[in-house]
């Protein structure tokens, strides 16, 4: 199987008040289609690791390769374009744009990418919304639908550009158990049926236990 993501020798320091090493020589690989959970106590560096992998934080030592591209050392603008095309995000809070319709929210990253005509983007977005069972709400404002629906819209938005990897920062952290199950099942289904690579940071043991692989972080190092 092909490698979707590899991290080599990642070290990261925080310099606030005093220098503190958050990540200590982190090495790992994620294969294509794998559904990986990163777990650990708060302060263990798991979120920090995710933001390095997401290319939003470029202040680190080591090397990150995503989908065959070494992202370490790229300029901010190049990283922006890379994220747009290759990475989808799902956060603890949905972070939808509240003034836009559900459909517009889903379409935005693809409109930004600009590789397809608007009509086909809209068709894709509708397809995703149907798959995630939010069909019928697409013209509502993003702020007018329920929390579980919002998180599913965020997933649809993450998938619109068919990214190499979907990254989740506690994607179910703000949901009740019913919606947690819904979101987990969606991830599960995406990994199995579409071969979608997913990396999610989570506190939820049950969520983690059902993933393909668990990476456990302790004091900035990977256990296991």
């Amino acid at each position: 199987m092909k490698t979707a993501l590899s991290a080599k020798g990642l070290n990261k320091y925080f310099h606030e008040s005093e220098t503190f090493q958050v990540l200590r020589d982190v090495n790992f690989e994620v294969k294509k289609g794998e559904f990986v959970a990163i777990v650990g106590k708060s302060g263990s560096g798991k979120s920090t690791l995710l933001y390095l992998l997401s290319t939003m934080d470029s202040d680190y030592q080591g090397r990150i390769t995503i989908d065959g591209t070494t992202v370490t050392g790229l300029s901010q603008n190049e990283l922006s374009r890379f994220r747009n095309a290759h990475i989808g995000f799902v956060f603890q809070f949905h972070y939808l744009l509240p003034e836009f319709s559900v459909l517009d929210n889903v379409m935005l990253p693809a409109l930004k990418l600009g590789k397809k005509p608007k009509e086909s983007i809209e068709a894709n977005a509708m397809e995703l919304l149907t798959m995630l069972d939010i069909r019928g709400h697409e013209m509502k404002k993003a702020s007018k639908i329920s929390g579980g629906q919002q998180q599913r819209v965020a997933i649809a938005r993450a998938m619109i550009n068919e990214p190499a990897i979907i990254m989740g920062d506690e994607p179910t952290g703000n949901l009740d158990s019913k919606n947690t199950k819904v979101v987990f099942d969606i991830f599960r289904q995406l990994a199995q049926e579409r071969g979608q690579t997913i990396i999610a940071v989570t506190h939820d043991d049950e969520f983690a236990a059902n993933c393909d692989r668990i990476i456990e972080m302790v004091d900035g190092k990977i256990m296991s």
């Binding site: 922006s80 995000f89 956060f91 972070y95 744009l97 003034e99 836009f100 930004k112 990418l113 600009g114």
Partner: protein, 413 residues
């Protein structure tokens, strides 16, 4: 790609209509005030200049007395002669312009000159019964005088053309008529400095708006004036000319000066106070109106800053999705430029409306009927340009701040 940014800008703008209206109004107010202030000041300047030019031409040619005293004995070159002239004086051989037609011909050669007239001015005593008043008698060439000074407009009673028809007709300034207690149809007598007297009939009254002129000036036909002074048919004390644009008077005077034997003076040379007053009024108008525009700019800056702070999470998520710094700048800059454009166009209309309302406010002082307003396209263009520059700057600063948002910091909470 750019379409997405503009779409986002548009949604941001239209989702907060009240905020949009406030921002637009601040620009509207600034731009309309700019236009009104400048239109008003230009109107005042124009009216002031117009009043001035009721009695003053753009270019004046006259025989200047003074200068070095007449040289009676040519200085001797040899060293053994001592030459002393004590109390040297002017011995004036020529007074006034003897051959005014020649001067007029020279002036006519210049293409900028649009109207020329000649005058014979003389200080005289007017008398009506026992009242004796000194004043200036102007012998005028009626047809040309009207062309230069539009004298007809300032007649409060009677007809200035009567001077052409009657050699004993006189038109008095309203102030002078008051002092003499004379009205149309009355006779006044006058005496020149040489002691020649003549009785004239008042056929009209005029009011130029310049008090000192109205209190002393009287008009008669130029031929009557020549007769009074026993001068030849081509005699004039001054030749006056108007040019196309009074601001060019100085250049035109410079052009014709070498061809004319007499002193040639543009209006600015004798009236520095008018020019400086005009310039000062312009400076005040621009300073006040720019201040208003800048205050409007602060309004936009404040609103855009608030918008950026409110939307900081959205900015972070846009960056996470792959929007670059310059996309974010574009999103927020487009918003302030749209505010500037809408506010600007409404401001142009409002400014024009305010100006035309003020133009109708009665203001009956001197020769005014309403407050003076001018409508110059340049004011409207500049207002729009300044307005857009200020909204651009006021929008750019918050936009740049937005583009520097670090998504990691915001999204990690």
């Amino acid at each position: 790609m750019a379409n997405v940014n503009i779409k986002i800008s548009w949604v941001h703008l239209t989702s907060k209509i009240r905020q949009l209206i406030v921002a637009v109004l601040s620009v509207t107010f600034g731009i309309s005030m700019y236009i009104f202030m400048n239109s008003f000041m230009n109107g005042v300047n124009g009216a002031q200049t117009e009043i001035t030019f009721t009695t003053m031409a753009h270019i004046r040619v006259y025989n200047e007395q003074g200068g070095a005293p007449t040289v009676l004995i040519p200085p001797n070159g040899s060293g053994d002669t001592l030459l002393s002239v004590s109390n040297a004086r002017h011995i004036s051989y020529t007074e006034g312009i003897r051959n005014a037609e020649e001067v007029i011909r020279e002036l006519q050669k210049n293409k900028e000159v649009v109207a020329i007239t000649e005058q014979v001015n003389e200080n005289v005593f007017f008398r009506n019964g026992v009242t004796k008043v000194s004043g200036t008698l102007s012998g005028i060439d009626v047809a040309n005088e009207i062309r230069v000074f539009n004298t007809v407009q300032y007649m409060t009673e009677g007809d200035v053309n009567e001077l052409k028809r009657r050699s004993d007709a006189i038109v008095l300034g309203t102030g002078l008529a008051n002092k003499l207690n004379a009205s149309v149809g009355d006779n006044v007598s006058l005496t020149t400095s040489d002691g020649v007297g003549k009785i004239l009939r008042v056929t009209g009254l005029m009011q130029t708006g310049t008090g000192s002129v109205d209190k002393t000036r009287a008009l008669i036909s130029i031929n009557t004036a020549r007769q009074l002074l026993s001068k030849n048919k081509s005699y004039a004390t001054e030749v006056l000319a108007n040019v196309d644009d009074y601001n060019k008077a100085r250049a035109v005077a410079g052009d014709v000066r070498p061809d004319i034997r007499y002193k040639t003076e543009a209006w600015q040379e004798g009236n520095g106070q008018l020019e400086s007053a005009n310039t000062l009024r312009d400076i005040i108008a621009i300073a006040v109106s720019l201040t208003i525009l800048i205050v409007a700019g602060f309004g936009i800056y404040n609103i855009m800053n608030m918008t950026v702070s409110e939307k900081i999470r959205e900015i972070a998520i846009l960056k996470a999705m792959g929007f670059e710094g310059r996309d974010i700048v574009q999103i927020f800059l487009v918003q302030s430029v749209i505010i500037g454009l809408i506010g600007g166009f409404i401001g142009l209309l409002l400014g024009f409306s305010i100006a035309s309302i003020v133009d109708r406010i009665p203001f009956k002082i001197a020769s005014f009927d309403t407050l003076p307003i001018s409508y110059l396209p340049a004011d409207y263009i500049l207002a729009m340009v300044f307005g857009l520059i200020i909204t651009f700057v006021a929008g750019y600063l918050p936009a740049r701040k937005a583009s520097k948002v670090d998504p990691v910091e915001i999204l990690r909470g």
